[in-house]
């Protein structure tokens, strides 16, 4: 058996820092001296007197000598390559229906879940890639609101999405990749409200997107413009203080019409005295059995508003809150196109 040889296999060394490079150069220098002395094996090095070596070659050679004598320990660090969680399959025959695709996806999910479970990780995102017969690709990314390894939940997510999926060409290959993350453990605050089942909401939203289209599902936000102003009225029915022109006992929200309805307004002393809608909207007014037609018993306004004066979308309107004799409180306004009703207060 050959004795261990003194050498540095530079090819296997990882990328080094400046300090490491300096140490390596120092080691090389020592090794070249040792070779000149005729020291070629670890055994020969180990047999040399430690202090004499140190006196001649410095501190670095002591480290090498101790290593050669088995007195120094270097603990090995386990470096494992990043694990990828990808499952893929190429179909022998092109598939044109969803069933075989779902079948293979469920199997993928089982395998991915098993692998993730084994290292205590969960999936936070799924990436589905379909390859079609014409070599084109489709990629869908599914963010999982509450990371999980539950294959049923993950499968339902894919299933919901694929239910409404169509393509021009048959599928020839499928690939599913899971992005792992640590399992979430969250303690909610005493007064915090959390979704009971975030997955359910996500699934419901996915179904809505499937049914209506992605551009027709979203979250309502208030517009940053004075054009759609304060949704609260300055009038409210009943309980007015004697002699008071207006009184607000409580704030009630405005039910704004999707499109304002044209109306006719009779003015007295520049204030709306009688209002009538040209076509009563089917919907709310019908549902509550009231019509937007009658004399006003109270008017609040005017509220002149204008904006976008710097571009062609400039607008100006004068708003009024009016209470009609049948009890409806409405917001109406007058702009360049005449009078219209903007909505009614609930």
């Amino acid at each position: 058996m050959n004795a261990p040889v003194l050498s540095i296999p530079s090819a296997v060394l990882p990328e080094r820092t400046a300090k490491q490079i300096e140490r390596a150069k120092e080691t090389e220098r020592i090794l070249s001296i040792l070779h000149q002395w005729g020291i070629h094996t670890l055994g020969q090095l180990a047999a040399l007197p430690r202090d004499d070596l140190a006196a001649r070659l410095g501190a670095r050679v002591v480290e090498l000598w101790e290593r050669a004598n088995g007195r120094a320990e270097r603990i090995l660090k386990l470096v494992s390559p990043p694990e990828s969680f990808i499952e893929s399959f190429e179909f022998e025959n092109e598939i044109e229906t969803i069933e075989p695709l779902l079948f293979i996806l469920r199997r993928f999910l089982q395998q991915l879940a098993t692998r993730l479970n084994a290292i205590y990780l969960v999936a936070k995102e799924l990436r589905l890639r379909l390859t079609f017969a014409d070599k084109s690709d489709y990629e869908g990314i599914f963010k999982i609101p509450q990371p999980t390894n539950n294959e049923d939940i993950l499968f339902r997510m894919l299933h919901t999405h694929l239910e409404n999926f169509t393509s021009k060409h048959p599928i020839v290959a499928v690939e599913l990749e899971a992005q792992p993350s640590r399992s979430v453990r969250q303690q909610f605050g005493l007064f915090e409200t959390a979704l009971r089942d975030p997955m359910q909401l996500h699934e419901t939203l996915a179904r809505l997107v499937g049914l209506l289209g992605a551009d027709r599902v979203g979250t309502p936000v208030l517009e940053e413009t004075h054009e759609t102003n304060d949704p609260y009225p300055t009038l409210s029915p009943g309980q007015r203080r004697a002699g008071e022109s207006t009184a607000v006992r409580e704030l009630i929200p405005l039910r704004r019409f999707r499109k304002p309805t044209k109306m006719t307004v009779l003015l007295e002393s520049h204030r709306p005295a009688h209002v009538r809608t040209e076509g009563v909207r089917a919907g709310l007014a019908v549902r509550v059995g009231l019509t937007m037609d009658g004399a006003t018993v109270m008017q609040e306004g005017p509220y002149p508003l204008s904006g976008n004066w710097w571009d062609e979308q400039a607008w100006a309107r004068v708003e009024w809150d009016v209470e009609i004799e049948n009890g409806i409180i409405a917001r109406c306004y007058c702009d360049q196109e005449g009078w219209a009703i903007d909505g009614i207060y609930d």
């Binding site: 004075h226 102003n229 609260y232 306004g301 508003l305």
Partner: protein, 384 residues
């Protein structure tokens, strides 16, 4: 009794006012307004130009300022007397000296009692606490639900806890202002810009006026002279908020009502509160201070016994001249007499002595001294 606008700010309220003092005065003259008050934010920077322009247009100028308080609210104050002007300047100086950010300052509530004399405080729609009215919501500062925590400014200041706990509710603030400025020097200010929710605020304010028996005045919180000034103000708002018009959204004004309005317009707007209009002239009559009779006094210089500042200046000048010229020629003597007579007549002796003292100190301590071209710096007296 004509309506007088007692709350207008000019472009000297940096990026908060769109018209120059001259433009405001010009429009006030067009509207035949006998007087106009300029209240710029945290300063009286525009007061001089305003005063000069007002004199030319035969409009009486009234001075004031909007003070930013430590809790972020605004306190508009009007100057009633020369002492009031001095107090206002002291308040502003102290606030600016404390501030580490240029152009920003805050006045402490506990400072008000000390410097309130000669000032009239306005409480209401023009105060920052009430500005959310523009958004249609009743601000907390006006909400009657907010409990009164601090009983009064003086008491709280005496307890040393005012700085940590400024007045919380609207009634609290009103009470504090009454204690600081005196009952007759606090007015409730109501504004109407045709915005949703402002009537609720005004109703709360008139309730406070009734409770404390304070007079109500109407103002328009003017930020531009003519309605088209709104566009300039919107652009200023964008610059101030580091945004642009398309993204500014509700930061911009809702309408163009914050312009100078005529007596007839304001009477129509406040037809249900006629006293609020007539009170403006009553208050304006009390505010007789003008920058024209400011009578500035230079600080005094301590002179040796038996000397006045004039005589000491004369002695030191002649002493200095002898050292410089050895023998004083008639020409030099004539020039010195001429300059001394002028300085004495203008009451500048103290100022010259102070400059002389500073120059001396610098020379004795080997400090290079370089003036900025003032008369004192260039005079023969400090030249030696």
């Amino acid at each position: 009794m004509p309506y007088i606008e007692l709350h207008a700010c000019s472009a000297f309220s940096f990026l908060r006012g769109a018209s120059s003092p001259e433009q405001l005065v010009e429009v006030a003259a067009e509207l035949e307004s006998p007087a106009l008050a300029l209240l710029d934010r945290n300063g009286v920077y525009g007061a001089q130009r305003f005063s000069v322009a007002a004199r030319e247009q035969k409009v009486r100028s009234i001075t004031g300022a909007e003070l930013t308080m430590e809790d972020g609210s605004l306190l508009p104050v009007l100057v009633a007397s020369r002492l009031g002007y001095a107090n206002l300047c002291s308040l502003l100086t102290q606030a600016h000296l404390r501030s580490s950010v240029k152009g920003e300052c805050t006045v402490r509530w506990e400072e008000l009692p000390e410097f309130a004399q000669g000032l009239v405080a306005l409480f209401g729609s023009g105060s920052a606490g009430c500005q959310p009215a523009a958004c249609g919501s009743l601000p907390e500062a006006i909400s009657p639900r907010v409990k009164c925590i601090v009983p009064g400014l003086r008491q709280a200041a005496a307890n040393g806890r005012l700085a940590a706990c400024p007045p919380q509710s609207a009634e609290d603030r009103a009470q504090g202002l009454i204690e600081a400025f005196g009952h007759e020097n606090v007015y409730i200010e109501v504004q109407r810009h045709f915005l949703r929710g402002e009537d609720r605020v005004n109703r709360a304010l008139t309730d406070i006026a009734s409770k404390f028996q304070l007079a109500v005045i109407a103002t328009n919180g003017v930020q531009y002279a003519k309605p088209y000034g709104r566009q300039v103000l919107d652009v200023f708002t964008c610059i101030r908020e580091h945004t642009h018009l398309d993204l500014a959204g509700k930061l911009l004004s809702q309408n163009a009502e914050r312009h100078l309005k005529s007596d007839a317009e304001m009477r129509t707007i406040f037809r249900d509160l006629p006293d609020a209009i007539t009170n403006t002239e009553r208050l304006a009559d009390r505010l007789q201070f003008s920058l024209e009779n400011i009578g500035y006094e230079f600080p005094e210089y301590l002179v040796p016994d038996g000397h006045t500042m004039n005589s000491f200046l004369r002695t030191m000048v002649l002493f200095g001249a002898q050292q410089r010229y050895e023998s004083i020629s008639k020409r030099v003597k004539r020039q010195l007499e001429k300059e001394l007579a002028l300085i004495t007549r203008l009451g500048f002796s103290g100022y010259f002595l102070i400059v002389w003292d500073i120059v001396n100190f610098c020379r004795e301590n080997n400090i290079m001294v370089q003036g900025r071209g003032s008369a004192a710096n260039r005079s023969r007296f400090t030249e030696r």
